[in-house]
Symmetry: C2
Subunit: 163 residues, 2 copies
């Protein structure tokens, strides 16, 4: 399975994220993991994806530390896939995707699985700053430019050398 985009020359944190989770279907595999799926066949049922594509996506996500594997059957040997802390940290992206798809595509219609906060209302996330605990409004972001920043490929090389 070839990559569908080469982000390795980008020098950006959001591109570094997409480089790992930007392949087609990957975010839906991770969404299903948040909903409790752990096994190859469960994802096949949920997504209707070709076996080779699903296998390539899972392999890539394990290699990048999003999933860890656990043996659940000795004969034949079968592994299940569990979100790591790094994988669970993708939750904010997915909550915002659900909210956006509900608001702008599903609108008054119900999707197959609908998420509610424990207060009883539909998922409607609002972003606060972890540091000052104030809401982060669009005008509140300042940007610094670091011309000497490393590319994603350079970071990967550096990480390999450190191992």
């Amino acid at each position: 399975m070839g990559r569908s985009a080469d982000y390795s020359r980008q020098r950006d944190a959001s591109a570094a994220c997409l480089d790992i989770i930007g392949e087609p279907w990957t975010l839906l595999i991770i969404r299903d993991a948040f909903r409790g799926l752990t096994r190859f066949e469960q994802w096949q049922d949920s997504l209707g994806l070709a076996r080779n594509v699903l296998a390539a996506r899972l392999k890539h996500l394990v290699a990048n530390g999003i999933f860890e594997t656990r043996l659940y059957c000795e004969r034949p040997q079968r592994h299940e896939y569990l979100l790591t802390e790094k994988g669970r940290a993708l939750r904010g992206i997915l909550l915002h995707m659900v909210d956006w798809g509900q608001t702008y595509v599903y609108q008054d219609e119900k999707p197959l699985i609908e998420g509610f906060h424990s207060c009883g209302n539909r998922i409607k996330p609002v972003i606060y700053c972890a540091h000052c605990e104030q809401q982060m409004l669009p005008g509140d972001i300042e940007r610094h430019r670091n011309p000497e920043a490393k590319s994603i490929a350079e970071l990967a090389k550096q990480a390999m050398a450190a191992e």
Copy 2:
């Protein structure tokens, strides 16, 4: 430019979001729009993308109401691309991607453009519920299943018929 994944049979709000913004490079085009880019050549400089790919992505984003176009030059006729309200609502996804890429890939390194909240700290989003104003923790989500839910393709057909 063919689509890289067909999500039309999915019946999910997050898949409906990916169906519009899941193509390779699309989220980086939108990221750049949040940083003030509005013109074709600016995106080419920023992303180093083939002209036909960039043109296809922009066309798709205009067709789906993420960008609106504005004429800025009469001869030759040139349009710029501005985020709509629907496009600006993708901000939460991008803020979480930036934070994730910084935390797990860039770590102590600086990316080319680094975002800070106006309180002076690096972007570190925390999700609160818009309704009850409490933080949304992982255990706080409840899911309802709607077996009669429509697929993304059915919703699109319905929207076309209503026009």
